[in-house]
């Protein structure tokens, strides 16, 4: 019996090669797209699921709130929480913490930059790290030991054993020698815990660092807790507000503790940290969006399949009728056609898997990830693929199977013409569905790309070209380094600041307006007097800051004390917010400024700078106050001559080696920082564009197939029309119109859907493009043109055919 089904199915496929090719190709492309997207989404959702007892491991995080300001969501937890957890929650089995910090290493005369995890002694035991060298029990016990990952050990020591070898680490309190006490397996790519270089934590390394506190002011360490199996995490979470109430100091001293800010504690499973944690790298919403698009593409492909099969019902109806006359029961007919479509779907699946295999390297390169699909070693994945194929086959074949099961043989066996069998309307609906999705995707892709281009072309207010930002210049040699750089003919300007554009400022200052009736929040940015020059930000009124004493708020060599009074610069928006009618009006204004909570400065505005983007271009420009604080010059921005980039970079590196022989030279490129802000959106645009092309391609394939069958079916009608005097163009027009209707209707559905989505999406941008009507109309035209181009060939062929041929056989 099955042999017979398969024979019929295969011979049918071979007889109608075009139909089969379109059907399988469409489905294969749809499946391939679906599999590729699902692989990525699944990968993103399966981070950190590999730890033993991972379901009991949680990350504890802190979120800082200060009235009227943006929350600071830290992936870290404050130090006191460790003991609080151990004391308050008996479910807590263990707590481990680490501080991630970039350190310079010296090894055999070479210097390396390395991200080091200064971890609690139980780190290796907590995560159950597997040791390749060394003793897991003692490796972290010795404060001078370091535990490397296999790849780090290989990087530093090649194939020779690493155990016992010495590495010198340049720390704040001087150089320290460490010896390798263990080598573990590499951390997994899909983990938020990248333990390449573990050093037992010691607070002495961080003594005197402004940001390192062991109280509630600053969360510096990542903290994981392991709860007893079956512990109720929600019950623990419910106690967090009470814990903050009880333990957070209430500002009885001058150290700004808990006075006008608060902390919220949160705790999430380690497996959710990648997507839902504070400062998460992934974006679950975007992933669901991708998955949605993947399903839409698969839907288009299935609809295609359904549509093409329906078009062929007339042909196969005779076979079904004969089978029924010969005794086939309904169930057997259903079996046959479901089997057939499952077979087709499985063939398409095999093609799709091949496509995925070919596409994966490019896909990985694009997404900057390392997805793979090893069906032989992942039987579950193989099984899922199989289910997918069978599911798609069932979905796509069920309608046809049911239709045939209900078919009355009497209706078919006595008519010699292939009738439409009432499936025509359904087929039109299916084409409408396909094109609705395609058109909506087209419109959305257009606007996403337009918005990205718009944002990239946005005037940032400063010149980002030919700038590099050198890290770690917050020290006494900074001035020497600057002078040395300016000696180079290739370097045109050098400026200093605590942070640089695109990174935003975390300093918020409350300032009373000139009317005195309200307060406004203004971002503070410690800069050097040279900051505006290097970024080429013009002054609208007054003058720029200078090295003069009156322009300096804090000076090196004065024990880090702020002065009582000083000159400052504001941007145009700050001047406006403060209540000045024009930038000029602000010059000379004196007011009291809280540089930090307990430091008050009598500030005088000496200059008003043009507005520029300091945060992401996604956000609005914020009002800003700029002042000279020599203790907060972490970044040195260098402008070089664009024609001599390499030479300039070489000079910077040489100057660095000279001035900072013990430190690693690292820099960021400003254009890359700017570009990075748009990367997600740009990538979204590219992904959407490719998906859209796929969707259109599959839809067009389906339309072509349909046109072919319609042409077959309507030859007689067209023959009659021609005999009655219709011209070639009349016939072609007739044909084009038939296929234009569903595309036009599809626009009616796609437009509002796309509009609603876009309106929502664009809300996320402070500066956004308008949703004009023109792109919608243009998309409709493009869709029509694609439809026509697809159908035209067939239409011409039919129109040219000799009418007698068509009529004689009736």
């Amino acid at each position: 019996m099955f042999q017979n089904y398969i024979k019929t199915a295969l011979r049918n496929l071979m007889r109608h090669k075009l139909y089969s090719a379109i059907n399988i190709a469409g489905l294969a492309v749809g499946l391939a797209a679906f599999i590729l997207i699902s692989l990525f989404v699944h990968d993103e959702f399966s981070w950190d699921t590999h730890w033993s007892r991972g379901e009991d491991i949680y990350r504890v995080e802190n979120t800082y709130t200060r009235e009227g300001e943006v929350q600071i969501r830290s992936p870290h937890a404050v130090d006191p929480l460790k003991d609080i957890f151990l004391d308050t929650f008996p479910e807590t089995e263990a707590v481990t913490r680490y501080l991630s910090f970039d350190v310079g290493l010296r090894l055999g005369g070479e210097m390396y930059g390395q991200t080091v995890l200064f971890a609690d002694h139980n780190f290796a035991e907590f995560f159950g790290l597997r040791f390749l060298e060394g003793n897991p029990d003692t490796a972290m016990a010795d404060v001078t030991g370091v535990v490397l990952s296999e790849r780090t050990a290989r990087k530093f020591f090649g194939d020779t054993p690493a155990l016992g070898r010495t590495i010198t680490m340049h720390l704040r309190d001087g150089d320290h020698d460490f010896h390798v006490s263990g080598v573990t397996e590499n951390p997994r790519r899909d983990s938020v815990v990248q333990h390449d270089f573990l050093v037992p934590f010691s607070r002495s390394y961080f003594e005197g660092q402004r940001w390192f506190t062991e109280d509630w002011r600053f969360a510096a360490r990542v903290m994981y807790v392991r709860l007893a199996p079956g512990a109720n995490a929600d019950a623990i979470r419910a106690q967090f507000p009470g814990i903050v109430d009880r333990y957070l100091p209430k500002g009885q001293d001058s150290t700004e503790t808990g006075r006008n800010w608060s902390v919220a504690i949160s705790m999430l499973p380690i497996s959710e940290a990648h997507l839902y944690g504070n400062s998460a790298q992934g974006d679950a919403k975007l992933l669901y969006g991708f998955l949605g698009v993947a399903c839409l593409i698969l839907l288009i492909a299935v609809v295609n399949f359904l549509n093409l099969s329906m078009a062929r019902t007339a042909h196969r109806a005779r076979e079904v009728a004969v089978r029924k006359v010969l005794g086939a029961a309904r169930g057997q007919i259903i079996q046959q056609f479901l089997g057939e479509s499952i077979l087709l779907a499985l063939v398409a699946l095999v093609v799709a898997l091949a496509l995925v295999e070919v596409a994966l390297p490019y896909y990985n390169a694009f997404l900057a990830t390392f997805l793979d699909m090893d069906l032989l070693h992942e039987p579950i994945l193989a099984l899922l693929c199989l289910f997918l194929g069978i599911g798609v086959g069932l979905g796509a074949g069920s309608f046809q199977a049911l239709y045939f099961a209900m078919l009355k043989p009497r209706n078919v066996l006595y008519s010699s013409s292939a009738s439409d069998n009432g499936t025509g309307r359904l087929r039109q609906v299916l084409v409408v569905v396909q094109f609705s999705i395609s058109i909506a995707l087209m419109i959305i892709a257009f606007f996403v790309n337009k918005q990205t281009q718009f944002a990239q072309a946005l005037d940032l207010g400063f010149n980002a070209d030919n700038l590099v930002v050198v890290n770690r210049t917050n020290n006494a040699q900074s001035e020497t380094f600057k002078r040395r750089l300016l000696e180079s003919p290739y370097i045109t300007a050098v400026g200093r600041s605590s942070d640089v554009p695109t990174e935003g400022s975390e300093d918020r200052m409350l300032v009373r307006t000139i009317g005195g009736d309200s307060e406004v929040t203004i971002d503070g940015l410690p800069t050097g007097p040279d900051f505006f020059k290097v970024y080429q930000i013009p002054m609208l009124a007054g003058r720029a800051l200078t090295t003069g004493e009156a322009d300096t708020v804090r000076k090196r060599g004065e024990d880090g004390a702020y002065r009582q009074a000083g000159n400052i610069v504001v941007n145009a928006m700050a001047a406006e917010r403060l209540g000045f009618a024009s930038p000029e009006a602000a010059i000379g204004h004196m007011f009291s400024l809280n540089i930090s909570s307990d430091v008050r400065l009598d500030a005088t505005i000496v200059g008003v700078a043009a507005d520029f983007h300091f945060d992401s271009a996604r956000d609005v420009i914020r009002p800003g106050i700029y002042y000279v604080d020599q203790y907060r010059w972490a970044d040195m921005t260098v402008r070089y001559d664009g024609a001599h980039r390499e030479a300039a970079l070489a000079e910077i590196a040489a100057a660095w080696r000279e001035i900072y022989p013990d430190a690693i030279f690292e820099y960021r490129v400003m254009t890359e920082l700017v570009e990075r802000q748009y990367r997600t959106d740009a990538r979204l645009g590219t992904v959407l564009t490719s998906f859209t092309l796929l969707a259109i391609g599959i839809s067009a394939m389906g339309l072509y197939g349909l046109a072919s069958f319609t042409a077959e079916r309507r030859t007689r009608e067209i023959g009659i029309r021609k005999v009655l005097g219709a011209r070639l163009m009349d016939i072609v027009g007739l044909f084009l119109w038939q296929f234009s209707k569903p595309i036009l209707v599809a626009n009616l559905i796609a437009w509002p859907a796309a509009f609603l989505f876009l309106r929502d999406w664009l809300q996320g941008f402070a500066y956004r493009v308008d949703i004009g009507l023109l792109p919608f109309v243009a998309t409709a035209l493009v869709a029509l043109l694609i439809g026509w181009a697809t159908v035209a060939g067939r239409a011409l062929m039919v129109a040219r055919a000799n009418p007698i041929k068509a009529l004689r056989y009736e």
Binding site: M1, R11, R318, E319, V322, V325, L326, G327, Q332, L413
Partner: protein, 227 residues
């Protein structure tokens, strides 16, 4: 074999009501060869369809082997049909994608017969209708007469007691037509009941009895003298 009592068939669309058969009374004995004749649209095919259980009567009784099947479900009718009734059509209705042997075998596929037995029976019946040398050919490679012989083979391969033939010679030239009629006659002589719709008086002569239909009524029944 079968008995139709006061059997009527009415087709209804939204506006029109067409009476295809009007109180028809027909009895066919086992082993008979009956021809049904009449002008186009007189209800011949409807009558044949009801006898073949491809259609149900609007009213009246249909006794098949002493069982009133008039109200049976489609599935039940399908079971009786596949046990007892074979069909031959004017347009052959062979499946284009299957070979001659496979087309014939199709009639056995739905009967739970083991593959080896199916092969034997198909081979035997192909010999009988003289089509064995074309076993592996596709229907499109055969002449009309050969195709109809395949159809006849398919109708009888399951040892059906009754064959319903709807203008079996309508698409054939006279030589091939006669060939098919002789085949049917031979089958009848072996005991198969045959009911045939035809336009050709010459071919109707092969039957022992002719039922004439006009506007849904049985007009006359002629019994031909035994040869």
């Amino acid at each position: 074999m079968l008995k139709l009592h006061n059997l009527s068939k009415v087709y209804r669309t939204d506006e029109v009501e067409t009476v295809a058969l009007n109180s028809v009374n027909v009895e066919i004995e086992t082993g008979e060869f009956v021809a049904i004749m009449g002008p186009s649209g007189c209800g011949k095919s409807t009558l044949l369809n009801i006898i073949g259980m491809l259609d149900s009567p609007s009213s009246g009784n249909y006794f098949f082997m002493d069982e009133d099947v008039a109200g049976y479900s489609e599935a039940k009718l399908g079971n009786i049909r596949k046990q007892h009734i074979g069909f031959i059509f004017q347009s052959f209705n062979l499946i284009d994608e299957l070979t001659v042997a496979e087309n014939i075998e199709l009639a056995l596929l739905y009967h739970n017969i083991p593959a080896s037995e199916r092969r034997d029976r198909v081979a035997r019946v192909m010999d009988k209708v003289g089509i064995a040398h074309r076993a592996k050919h596709m229907p499109s490679q055969l002449s009309g007469g050969q195709q109809q012989r395949v159809a006849v083979a398919r109708a009888v391969v399951g040892d059906q007691a009754m064959i319903l033939a709807d203008e079996p010679t309508g698409n054939l030239d006279s030589a091939h037509g006669q060939e098919v009629m002789e085949m049917l006659q031979a089958l009848n002589e072996e005991g198969t009941t045959i009911v045939m719709v035809t336009h050709s008086p010459a071919h109707a002569d092969y039957a022992r009895r002719t039922i004439n239909l006009f506007d849904g009524h049985v007009v006359t029944e002629n019994l031909r003298a035994a040869v």
